[in-house]
Amino acid sequence: MTFRTLGAVCALSLGLAGAALAEYPERPINMVIPYGAGGATDISARTIAEPLGAAVGKPLVMANVTGAGGATGSVAVQNAKEDGYTMLFARVGSHSVNPAMKATLPYTLDDFRFVTVYEINPVACAVSPSSGITSMEDLIAKVDEGGVTYSSSGVGSLLHLAAVMVLSEFGVEEPLTKTTHIPQKGGGAAATAVLNGTATFLCTNSSAIASFVANKQLVPLMVTTAEPVAGFDVPTAADLGKPALHQLVGWTGIAGPDGLPDDVADKWGAWMAAATEDPEFLEKMTARGSVIELMSPEDANAFIEGQYNTFRKLVDDLGMRIEG
C-alpha cells in the first residue's frame, strides 16, 4: 500500500466520520438508567423516552445498569465512546450528593457533560403519626431530648444528606452526634422504616411519600421548595424562613461522557425542548409530583455545580465525607 492510497483511505474514513457526525444519530442511542426498574429515575426516564424518541427520530434503547447507588451505571457511561450513542440519565443522588460525600467514588462531575436537566422533585420531610410530632419545631425540640433517628436509602443518598442539611439549617449544631442515621436498602424501605417506627423521620422526594401522606400514614412537616406542593398541606422552606433549603431538591437530567461534541449537545437541547412540550408527558409527570423545568446545557451545568458546592460545604463542615 502506498502513502497515497493510505492517505486516500484516511481521507475517506475521515469524510465518513464527518458525514456520520453530521447525520447524528444514524443508529439507536443507548440510554443508561443507573437505578433499578420501578424507581423514580426509571419511571421518569421511561416517561420521557416516548416523546424524546419521537423527537430524535431513532429508537432509544433503555438499559438499567444498577449498583452502588448509581455508580456502576455512571461509570459505564464515563468510559463509553464520546460519540453521543451512550447517554446517561443522571440523578441528584449519583451526580451531586455522591460526589460531594464519597471520596471513594470512581468518577467526578468533570467526567460528564450535561446536556439538560428536565425535572425537579421537591423534597419533603415527614414523620409517623404515632410520634406526636406535627411541626418542625416539635422535631427540633425532640432532637434536643435525644433519641431521634432518621432513615435513608443508603449512605451518601439524597435522603441521608437531606436529613442532615435540614437539621443543620434548623439550628441543630452537631446533627451527626445528636441524631442517628439508620440506612436502609432503597427508598421504599426508608419510608417503611418510618411507618413501622424504626426511624423517627425522613426527608425524601415528595412523590415517594405522596400516597402515604394522602392515606394519613405519614405526617408531612415541610417542603423545601419556595412554592407549596400539591397534596402537602405544610409550610414551605420560604414560609419557615430557610431559603438555603431551596437548593435541596431532587432532579433528573441527561449527560454524556466529558468529551461529547458540541453539535451533539446542541441537538440534545433541541430534542429536549420538543419532548418536554408534549402534553401527555407533562400531565403524567405533574401527576407524580414533579416540576418540569427544562434547562439548557449551560444552565444545567451551573445548577448542578451550585448544588454540589452547597452540599460539599456542608459535608466538609460536618466531617461527613466518606474516605477509604
Binding site: R27, V61, G319, G324
Partner: protein, 163 residues
C-alpha cells in the same frame, strides 16, 4: 479421592482460607473509617466473624476426616481418560477467557456463534452439521428476541452491526 480425603482436603482448605482472610485479606481489602463508635458496628466485624466460623468449620471437617477410616472407594466416577478430560477443561477455560475479551469487541452475536461452535466440538458432538447450523441460528434468534422484543441493548460488534 475418597471420602476421607475429601473431608481432610476441604478442612485444611477452609483453615488456610480462614487464616488468609484474618491475617491478610480483611485488613487489606476491607476499609473501615476511623470514627467508628462501636466495634459491633464496624464494617470489619462481620467479615472477621465469618472468617472465625470458616476456621471452625475447617477444624470440624479435619476431625471428621480423621475419624473416618480409609475405605479406598473413590467418591467420583472416574473419567475414561483423565488427561484428555483435563485438556478439555482447560480448553473450556480458554473459551471463557476469550469470550470476555471478544464480547465488547466482536459483539455478542458473533462471539456466541464462536462459543457455540467451539463448545459443541469440544464435547465431540455426534451431530456436527446440526451443531454448525444451530451455532449460526440460535445466537441470531436470541438477538432478535432480546434486542427487539425485550428491548435490551445487546452489545454490537465493530465488524458486524445488526439492525
Amino acid at each position: 479421592m475418597t471420602q476421607r480425603q475429601v473431608q481432610l482436603r476441604l478442612g485444611f482448605g477452609a483453615l488456610l482460607a480462614a487464616i488468609f482472610l484474618a491475617v491478610y485479606a480483611i485488613p487489606a481489602w476491607v476499609s473501615s473509617p476511623s470514627n467508628v463508635g462501636n466495634v459491633i458496628l464496624s464494617p470489619l466485624f462481620w467479615p472477621y466473624a465469618l472468617s472465625g466460623f470458616t476456621g471452625l468449620a475447617g477444624l470440624g471437617l479435619v476431625f471428621s476426616g480423621l475419624r473416618l477410616e480409609d475405605t479406598g472407594t473413590p467418591v467420583n466416577t472416574p473419567s475414561e481418560n483423565p488427561n484428555a478430560a483435563w485438556l478439555r477443561l482447560a480448553g473450556m477455560a480458554v473459551i471463557m477467557g476469550l469470550t470476555m475479551i471478544a464480547l465488547p469487541r466482536l459483539g455478542m452475536v458473533l462471539t456466541s456463534m464462536l462459543i457455540f461452535g467451539a463448545t459443541a466440538f469440544l464435547v465431540r458432538t455426534r451431530h456436527p452439521v446440526t451443531a454448525v447450523f444451530c451455532a449460526v441460528i440460535i445466537p441470531l434468534v436470541l438477538y432478535a428476541f432480546f434486542a427487539h422484543v425485550a428491548g435490551v441493548a445487546i452489545p454490537q460488534g465493530n465488524i458486524l452491526r445488526l439492525p
